[in-house]
């Protein structure tokens, strides 16, 4: 199916991606082509077929919730683009 300019704006917003006008125009065409290709899946009858959500066939494994050693705080903060003391610093989230 062909995407509209509005669709592309909407998806880019959901994905939190800033795109230039040129990128939007290019993606509009390329995504439409890719979606047309994947439309082949619609021709298959999958009424009684279960969804495969992963490649593990042994079921989920649960473990006891036991406190362990956490990564040292400084190790987690050392790559921060901006920090203040022991915290990541970001622009205001609430007005």
């Amino acid at each position: 199916m062909a995407l509209s300019k509005k669709d592309v704006d909407h998806i880019a917003h959901l994905a939190r991606l800033h795109l230039s006008d040129a990128e939007k125009a290019r993606f509009r065409k390329q995504l439409s082509d890719i979606l047309a290709h994947v439309d082949a899946l619609q021709s298959l009858d999958t009424t009684d077929v279960p969804a495969m959500s992963g490649a593990i066939f042994e079921g989920s494994r649960l473990r006891e919730d036991i406190a362990g050693d956490a990564m040292p705080r400084e190790d987690l903060l050392r790559n921060a683009p901006d920090r203040e003391n022991n915290q990541f610093r970001v622009p205001p989230v609430l007005d």
Partner: protein, 486 residues
């Protein structure tokens, strides 16, 4: 005697053990190859020369003091740059992670370090492992050692070129839809994708979490088996690793495949497969038959749907996994007074075109109103693909076919058309979706002297059978011993 960089892993291990050469000499030989050749090949994003030599010296010291040295003591390794190695840059081929220095090491790498290996450096990859040529790396494109104007394949193209060019004895890669096997085929080396859940993904920068596997690219199947035996097994840090006991793959001394049945799927020999590829793969299958294997035609009827299924599921998982790159905790931040704008500008500048494209496809496929049509349907068809293999493995032990439809293409040849690039993976995607192990081995060359790869698949957790058959092939042929003249 062969030069040090020409030794295979077993010879290197034996030479170190016998004291024929030191780890420093061996490591220095590879660093010198990198120095000489990597300007042309561009296989490495980061070379850890000093660290590697320091570790080599420690290994030599340890060996001098201790008779019970770990099995891989002082043996160098190259690591794809999507796997974290503590205090070594990890970019995933992306600008958004430029300067990122992980404080921890991926379990797969750690197990090899614990067995004595040392890391030479981090190899180039398509950005976040999304691609089939390394052309999507934000830094540079790796060149194929067999023809510098061609791609080495991808996304583990840096690892493939490093092994093929003799810049590393062996390397780690990752395979989501074919990213170990396809570059192995295009660069003329061997490459294993294990069963999903066999090797830990802890410390692997996630792309498609239901598909990602850590694998090995090496000069021979025997070399690969040595590393796989060390890496396999449950990791408490990765809940998707299997509890199943690890079966250590012991490779047989005799090339005998009697009692083994190999299936050849019709769907893997179709229009679009280069005639030289088909001829070489058919000849290799005949070689397996000559060793006593029974060969029969089979059908994997949903093969053609693997590409559309993959290009919904992998981008959907990627769009969620890559949400973490928002400029808050690590990597690039593009400043803005508004926090949402900061996210958008950071991601807009930090990600390259293919990554953005896949995030967009994935976000769309998961968005309200389209989820069932795209994501839900793709998951159901994934079941059909998995059932194809299950049914086939009721009749045969292994499946054989070409790894890729063509040999290595020219740099730039497919870079304008994403769909055409995706076709590179048609024969590696179905088994990736099913979660079964696969291995690519060199089986010849086309008329232009470019390597051709054959794939073998086995049922879940049947790595031993897979490695044994591939090893038998290499015992009776010498394609894997051919080296490019770089």
């Amino acid at each position: 005697m062969a030069e040090l960089h020409e030794l295979d892993l077993r010879q290197a291990i034996e030479g170190l053990k016998q004291g024929d050469f030191s780890s420093r000499e061996l490591t220095a030989a590879f660093l010198q190859r990198i120095e000489q050749l990597d300007g042309a090949l561009q296989a490495f994003l980061h070379v850890a020369g000093e660290q590697a030599l320091t570790q080599a010296d420690q290994a030599d010291k340890q060996r001098g003091e201790n008779r019970e040295a770990p099995p891989l003591l002082g043996v160098p390794l190259a690591v794809k740059d999507v796997l974290a190695v503590a205090d070594m840059p990890a970019t995933a081929g992306s600008r958004i992670l430029e300067g990122f220095l992980p404080s921890y090491t991926a379990t797969s790498v750690q197990r090899l370090l614990d067995a004595g290996m040392l890391v030479l450096g981090k190899t180039n990859t398509d950005e976040f492992a999304m691609g089939s040529s390394t052309e999507n790396s934000a830094y540079f494109t790796t060149h194929n050692p067999w023809d510098l104007e061609r791609v080495p394949g991808g996304s583990s193209g840096g690892s493939a070129a490093a092994v093929a060019g003799g810049l590393a004895p062996i390397a780690l890669g990752t395979d989501t839809g074919g990213s170990v096997r396809q570059p192995a085929a295009l660069s003329g080396v061997s490459g294993l994708r294990p069963t999903y859940g066999r090797n830990s993904r802890y410390g692997l920068i996630a792309f498609g979490s239901s598909l990602d596997c850590v694998g090995v690219l090496g000069r021979s199947v025997a070399d690969i088996a040595i590393l796989q035996n060390v890496m396999a097994g449950r990791d408490p840090k990765d809940a998707s690793t299997s509890d199943r006991p690890v079966e250590t793959a012991v490779l047989q001394k005799k090339a005998d495949l009697k009692g083994l049945t190999i299936g050849v799927p019709n769907e893997y020999f179709i229009a679009g497969v280069q005639p030289a590829v088909e001829a070489a793969v058919r000849a290799a299958i005949q070689a397996l038959a000559d060793m006593g294997a029974a060969v029969r035609e089979i059908s994997l009827p949903h093969t053609e749907y693997a590409l559309p299924v993959y290009y919904i599921l992998a981008p959907a998982e990627a769009s969620a996994n890559l949400a973490r790159f928002d400029g808050v905790r690590y990597g690039l931040r593009v400043k803005d007074a508004d926090v949402i704008e900061m996210f958008k500008r950071t991601r807009g500048e930090g990600f390259g075109p293919e990554v953005k494209r896949r995030i967009m496809i994935g976000t769309y496929a998961l968005s309200a109103g389209y989820y069932d049509t795209y994501y839900g349907q793709a998951q159901k068809v994934r079941t059909l693909i998995q059932r194809d293999f299950e049914a086939a493995f009721e009749q045969v032990d292994l499946i054989a076919g070409p790894t890729t439809p063509t040999t290595a293409f020219r740099i730039g040849e497919h870079s304008d058309d994403p769909l055409e690039m995706y076709l590179q993976d048609v024969f590696t995607l179905p088994s990736s979706l099913a979660g079964i192990p696969g291995i690519s081995v060199p089986v010849g060359f086309d008329e232009g002297g470019l390597p051709i790869g054959m794939q073998l698949f086995a049922p879940h957790f049947a790595e031993t059978k897979l490695l044994q058959a591939a090893h038998a092939y290499q015992m009776t042929t010498d394609w894997h011993l051919k080296r490019p003249s770089v």
